[in-house]
Symmetry: C2
Subunit: 158 residues, 2 copies
């Protein structure tokens, strides 16, 4: 095929922070493969590699939250995408302030908006798992441009 | 919840033209809910309302193609999103030139790139169906900025 990484044809893609929780473990990861899949009911999907610690937390905790990213939290979001939370608390390590939503999900307090989702479906697709969640709680903190990943170290605000 | 249309939080989203075929019927539709879901194998998903004619063609034809949109075909892409192909041939009506891919899919000849996908999974999610396809053929015709839908009649090139 023409492209080494076919998925790059759809870039730039919006960066979000996905937060999750199971038992006393909480995590925050950066993701670009997150999108709406249904209007009514409002459903969102996020594609997560099985290697990620968040995969385990979302699968066992049956919930996740989507937190938008803008310039204000850009550096923390990029850093959150570069390390695993398996052996550390990334919220503490990266000084990402959290608050808790109606479902008990940890949310990124400085995010422009957070969408708490209850897991409704988990689908194995190649080397990723697609988690589909129903939006049960939306917190909009401010209007903001979004951060989009253009590939590698390139990001653009839209 | 805070927002009337929760999916708008993730906008702007990239616009693509999804082409499909079953028997002697072919169609082209505009979609913004299209995204990669797996790296290896390369899989793409597109969320399609059950009301769309393309839903029937993709489900029966077991394939679809993703065609990128840039300024050159912007007007045709927006027009393709505003009518149904159920009772007409939108390719002919909107003067969208087509060529055929390895899978026999009609492709948008003036698109910057087309990705032909073989259907691997069809998942009912709320009022939409998520079609997941494996990329089997990629044609890159030129490098180009993408058209992103910012909501309503607003579009932005990135």
């Amino acid at each position: 095929m023409a492209a080494e990484k076919p998925y790059r044809f759809l870039y730039p893609m919006r960066v979000v922070l996905i937060t999750s929780k199971y038992g006393d473990r909480e995590n925050v990861m950066a993701a670009a493969w997150c999108f709406p899949v249904s209007m009514e009911p409002p459903l969102f999907a996020v594609s997560v590699s099985r290697k990620r610690f968040s995969h385990e937390l979302i699968s066992k905790g049956r919930a996740f939250a989507i937190n938008l990213v803008d310039a204000k939290i850009r550096e923390k979001a990029v850093a959150a995408g570069r390390s695993s939370g398996k052996d550390r608390d990334k919220f503490a390590e990266l000084s990402i302030a959290r608050e808790y939503g109606k479902l008990g999900m940890p949310l990124v307090k400085d995010s422009p908006a957070s969408i708490e989702c209850k897991l409704v479906k988990e689908i194995e697709l190649g080397d990723h798992v697609l988690f589909v969640g129903g939006a049960v709680n939306i917190i909009e903190r401010r209007k903001a441009k979004g951060l989009y990943h253009a590939g590698g170290d390139d990001f653009v605000e839209i």
